[in-house]
């Protein structure tokens, strides 16, 4: 069961390597792909360098306390990767809820009008429209924004999710 501890340590090593990478590159954009390469590289290195277990371990009549938990450990490692990426991505994205709390905390108290004056369309809608343009989900032709075929595919997935869950449109 030492595999679980090893996996945590390996994951911490991957995160440290990523932090060093980000510092060395002084990159302003998200470094998601380098993290994936580092995380996969670290686990592959561990798998190849780790000595093979003796035959029979983990099966009857061996003691369960010695049973290896390779697949649980591997699954844990795989799941920690998107968990870290969510945190890393969230660090670089402005959440409207977080912004409301920060603004209200800074001012002590705020009316609805004061909140909507601070969190206006230029802050909350325009940057996201630009993101969608940049990533090819929207085009800007003439004076109107239009959805591209790849944007439409995302919309169809959302429609399907809505049919399954029965939730009204979010946002």
């Amino acid at each position: 069961m030492s595999e679980i501890l090893s996996i945590f340590l390996l994951f911490i090593v991957s995160v440290f390597l990523h932090v060093f990478w980000c510092r060395a590159r002084k990159a302003k954009d998200l470094q998601i792909r380098p993290f994936l390469f580092l995380a996969i590289g670290v686990i592959l290195l561990y798998i190849f360098l780790k000595p093979a277990p003796p035959d029979g371990i983990g099966s009857s009549p061996m003691k369960a306390s010695n049973a290896p938990v390779y697949f649980s450990s591997l699954m844990l490692y795989v799941l920690l990767i998107p968990t870290y990426l969510i945190f890393y991505f969230g660090m670089n994205v402005e959440s409207p809820s977080r912004r409301i709390l920060v603004e209200v905390e800074g001012a002590g108290q705020m009316t609805y009008e004061e909140i909507s004056a601070v969190i206006d369309n230029d802050l909350i809608i325009s940057p996201r429209l630009n993101d969608l343009l940049k990533h090819g989900y929207l085009t800007f032709e003439g004076d109107a924004y239009r959805l591209t075929p790849s944007g439409m595919r995302v919309a169809q997935i959302l429609d399907l999710y809505q049919r399954i869950t029965g939730r009204e449109m979010g946002g």
Binding site: S72, I115, I119, E141
Partner: protein, 181 residues
């Protein structure tokens, strides 16, 4: 080679997560926007209880055909802890990567607004008539008041809790940003 303990951990975590997703989809058909935080915790609790039950069944019975394998209490507890941890991450990822973006992503809502007029387009002003900062703020204020992050006296919003998930996340995000840059 998958050991008996490995199988028990994985099956109980995946079984609990599956029950979490099914109950989540069924329950959230009827949950209002403002009750989301509370209901997520309720459904998460249900899944955790399922995990403990499944863990108990897999470790204690012969469901996996390994009754002859002696399993001490410490191994059972350790396996259960790992299984609960796996289930916790899986449900966290479901909420943050599947449910969360659908429910609160402004970008995805924009895509859906444009899809309603596809293959036509919308001018910026037309878009703002359908969806704007006020829609976004309304939904979030409802949730923040209901989850007791904010209090509302009929005119003013004030912070209710000294610390909140969002502010703690904001603090760590700032620290991490400083480290990585």
């Amino acid at each position: 080679m998958v050991s008996f303990v490995d199988q028990a951990i994985l099956l109980s975590a995946l079984g609990a997560f599956l029950s979490f997703v099914i109950i989540f989809i069924l329950v959230f058909r009827f949950v209002k926007n403002k009750d989301i935080f509370k209901r997520i915790m309720n459904v998460f609790g249900w899944g955790a209880a399922m995990d403990i039950l499944l863990g108990y069944l897999f470790f204690s019975s012969d469901l996996l055909g390994r009754q002859d394998l002696p399993v001490s209490l410490s191994v059972k507890l350790f396996g259960l802890a790992v299984s609960l941890f796996l289930y916790g991450i899986l449900s966290f990822l479901y909420v943050l990567c599947v449910f969360g973006p659908y429910e609160s992503s402004v970008r995805l809502r924009l895509i859906r607004e444009f899809s309603s007029v596809y293959p036509g387009g919308l001018r910026y002003g037309e878009l703002l008539r359908c969806y704007n900062n006020r829609n976004i703020i309304d939904r979030r204020l409802d949730r923040l008041v209901e989850s007791k992050e904010l209090e509302f006296d009929g005119r003013h919003y004030r912070k209710r809790k000294k610390q909140s998930f969002f502010l703690v996340a904001d603090f760590f995000a700032k620290v991490f940003k400083k480290i990585t840059q």
